[in-house]
Symmetry: D2
Subunit: 190 residues, 4 copies
Amino acid sequence: MISATRRLALGFGLALGISTLGIGASAQTPLRNDNITLEEVLAAQRAWGEGLVRIATAHREGGVERGRAVAGEILDGAYGYAAGPVLFKPTLTLAPQTFRITREGALAYFAGGNPAFANDGGFAFNGWTRVEVENAAIFIHGRTALTQGNVRLFDGQGRVTTVDKSWGFHRDEAGVVRIVLHHSSLSFTR
Amino acid sequence: MISATRRLALGFGLALGISTLGIGASAQTPLRNDNITLEEVLAAQRAWGEGLVRIATAHREGGVERGRAVAGEILDGAYGYAAGPVLFKPTLTLAPQTFRITREGALAYFAGGNPAFANDGGFAFNGWTRVEVENAAIFIHGRTALTQGNVRLFDGQGRVTTVDKSWGFHRDEAGVVRIVLHHSSLSFTR
Amino acid sequence: MISATRRLALGFGLALGISTLGIGASAQTPLRNDNITLEEVLAAQRAWGEGLVRIATAHREGGVERGRAVAGEILDGAYGYAAGPVLFKPTLTLAPQTFRITREGALAYFAGGNPAFANDGGFAFNGWTRVEVENAAIFIHGRTALTQGNVRLFDGQGRVTTVDKSWGFHRDEAGVVRIVLHHSSLSFTR
Amino acid sequence: MISATRRLALGFGLALGISTLGIGASAQTPLRNDNITLEEVLAAQRAWGEGLVRIATAHREGGVERGRAVAGEILDGAYGYAAGPVLFKPTLTLAPQTFRITREGALAYFAGGNPAFANDGGFAFNGWTRVEVENAAIFIHGRTALTQGNVRLFDGQGRVTTVDKSWGFHRDEAGVVRIVLHHSSLSFTR
């Protein structure tokens, strides 16, 4: 049982002084709140970036096998493939394998080495050291949230790759937020 | 356009220091958040109680006609009949008119005077002066929230009526919270 | 169209009969649909009635111990206590134990035998043989649905108990529908 | 069952053909169903394509002024700018005006002629005659739905432009489905 105050504390980092509202919802009213919060969305974005760096680091320090193993773990934590198809359009996929609706296709994109996806070299194995997210706008609806903006990926040589990115996040029953939509593209240039 | 900070300020009375999260969602990121908040739920409960007292006061001071007019206004603000059926089981209705799915049935219950609902005397016309809500538990899901607990209605003579009450609230696109379910019953006694 | 609808209720990975819409959603478009359907709501109501009869039958044929064991199983399948508080106001509870927000309180109500709930005799042990649900109105929102109406409980002697009942149902990630709100009351009579 | 499904999409106050379920939800049970349906999603995609062709046709037959007027109408019908920011990354926008969170930016993209968006030539004025949508996957949650896949735009000369596209749709209280997220990008090529 989660009290109102504790649940809010988890969601927003604050203790709502409900008693001051004077209508009898005490600080201990049991509360179940399914909705995703803005903080959870921002934390999930940050976790995505940290995950990418973790894969790159594992690859650099432990080789391809190790990188691939970590990529699988990160993928299972960050994406909702266990619950259904994920709408995933990675930055660099080639038609007709543009969309990676299944876990297998996503893992091939991040970590390569899958003959069924021969064009995939392993996007996460590019020496990434840091990720920045700049949101242009956010939309929250129930357990889901949509974000759109720029993501900048830095490697160890100081090079930066900027992509346009839309994410859809979903908060499951256990409170875990996972990606259900991911559309990434290089900026259009003339 | 509502900035993240302003929207959160409306919903929770606080300014999230998003910039401290360090991931580039500035304090001005445009945000659309459809979800109902705990504060909105508690405010809607309080508004229901204040509305009942307003009807009773209008009736006492202005007579039946005035009471009925105010009841209609309160009803339109507090209940979601304009958007569809409302699941409303008032405390004192008699079968076969137990459920008041339409606005007409709800108005008859609160303000009487409708020959089609001959047993309705006008529940709101009982001299109510104060309402207290004590929530037993709350469930929040998307735009909707469910509450259950006791509501105590006080009249001018110091008498109190306690009812068991469940409410379902729905936050519409304009941010207005309306009742979509209301089940009220006298306590069971042996 | 029937099969499309049926399969939508099941979740994703299905074959949609939407080729007639002519816009390129092929018969194999992977779909994840979180929403609860009307059919699922009606099935959950039916399951509640069948569960009550199963408990009564187990009690009659196997005694109190057996009845209590079955009640626990039915409860875990039908109610959402594993995911948080449930807003449960049973028909016959006495203040100050009116609301049964925890599993323990719900089990005591259905199967008695808990000294902490001394007034509970075991509501499910009343020889129920059949349950009828008559909905007055239904509200569906995301994974949740609200229903309100009459429920009639029949025992083996041909006696019928009619209650006014509101239910809130929630469909979880695995597609299982569980009760998150339940308000039951005897009809008001003068 | 077909008619039940169809009518559910419309909202409430309908006749449900569920008497065969045998649990007392009569053929006239009032229903309010907020959720978006797969059919509504596919219809909204089709409407987007038809809208683009309508703008192109108005431009070709009536000139820039007429094209711009029609673009404004189509935009207001198809996108959710009236309710808040829209997460819109058009195919051909240039940084730093990549994202078109406001109606003004979206109109500039489709119909040009806004000095504040000097790079916009009017995407809709390219003689489009037909649009095809091929969904890779769909995700439905409450009032919202996400789609991802290819969209092919045909002009009068038989040329086709293929884009990778993600859409987020939202069904409002009146049952109107509007775009709340739109990410379009040219296919990645080496």
